[in-house]
Amino acid sequence: MTGDVVTEPLFKTGDQVRIHDSNPPGHRRTPDYIKGKIGIIERYCGRFVNPEESAYGFDGLPLRHLYRVRFDQAHIWKDYDGGAGDTLDIEMYEHWLRPAGGSAPKQKKAIFQ
């Protein structure tokens, strides 16, 4: 893949992040249900074309850092009916992520087991 990324990834596995809560018009890959929620970086996936640009015929550069972020289901859904260990993973481009209190607190680390 060509295209320069001028920055290093801002986040690493285990970091706690909040998904930016915003509703800009256009093609977005961030579903509403995850906006404003706090999760933990599960892994860094690499650099990819920005679909919010490429969807409209632009080159989608610079490439964007992509991560998989893991959330407790009970945090996403108020009335979640399932086990306490249930989680949801979703892919997020870096510009949708905000730092949310440094590294994962201890109880959160359980969801990686």
Binding site: R29, T30, P31, Y33, I34, C45, G46, F48, P51, L66, R68, Q73, I76, W77, Y80, D81, G82, G83, G85, D86, T87, L88, D89, I90, E91, M92, Y93, I111
Partner: protein, 216 residues
């Protein structure tokens, strides 16, 4: 309010526009078919693609099937070293199968006695098509896409997969550049089986994560 007569269902509720039970779906389908045909004709007319390219692509997609995925899973069951590489970097590990991933990367997630993974694309129908072929209709349905993320256990139960509370359910929303393959638990009673024999136990649904592998 417009003068238009509001449609009511048998319970007297107003039908939602664009809901699954609305007539709009039929109109939308016609609309998209027309749009797709028009775009294809324009691309051919402008020399961007040839008519044969479309046929070739259809032929390629029709050649892909869940048997490819089953071979990958069977090898992971039979070969611990391959399994380790597959879980660490799916795209890299499947190079020995000569499978194109196109522009996406492959993430393989392992089911165990304590973790059950299932895959959904809430935005559309992202799916590892070069490994599993075309997705089933239910995978693309609004119902599966919306319910899998917020009530996965109820959805799994409807597929006949009931899990104990202490088994963690991990839902993977395939919303961007990764594609997912679930590595199901290897069925008991298969010690010493060859890859070819094991592959017969690997179903499409077990690789999406809505069911276990077949029992021998």
């Amino acid at each position: 309010m417009s003068d238009k007569q509001v449609e009511l269902n048998e319970h007297g509720h107003e039908l939602l526009a664009y809901s699954d039970d609305s007539r709009h779906d039929v109109d939308e389908a016609d609309h998209y078919v027309l749009m797709a045909d028009a775009i294809r004709d324009l691309l051919i007319e402008k020399g961007v693609i040839k008519a044969g390219d479309v046929r070739e692509q259809l032929e390629f997609m029709d050649s892909r099937s869940e048997e490819i995925g089953a071979q990958i899973i069977a090898r992971a069951w039979a070969n611990a070293d391959f399994k380790e590489r597959l879980l660490a970097d799916g795209s890299e590990a499947i190079k020995e199968f000569d499978i194109p991933m196109l522009d996406a990367e492959l993430v393989v997630v392992e089911n165990t006695d304590t973790v059950h993974n299932m895959v959904v694309c809430t935005l559309c129908s992202c799916y590892p098509r070069t490994i599993l072929g075309m997705p089933p209709d239910w995978y693309k349905s609004k119902t599966y896409r919306s319910r899998s993320v917020n009530e996965p256990r109820a959805v799994l139960k409807e597929f006949g997969t009931e899990l104990a509370d202490d088994v963690a359910v991990r839902v993977h929303d395939s919303n961007a550049d990764m594609r997912y393959l679930v590595l199901p638990v290897r069925p008991e009673g298969t010690d010493g089986w060859s890859e070819a024999e094991l592959a017969k136990l690997v179903s499409r649904d077990s690789m999406i994560g809505v069911s276990p592998a077949r029992a021998p």
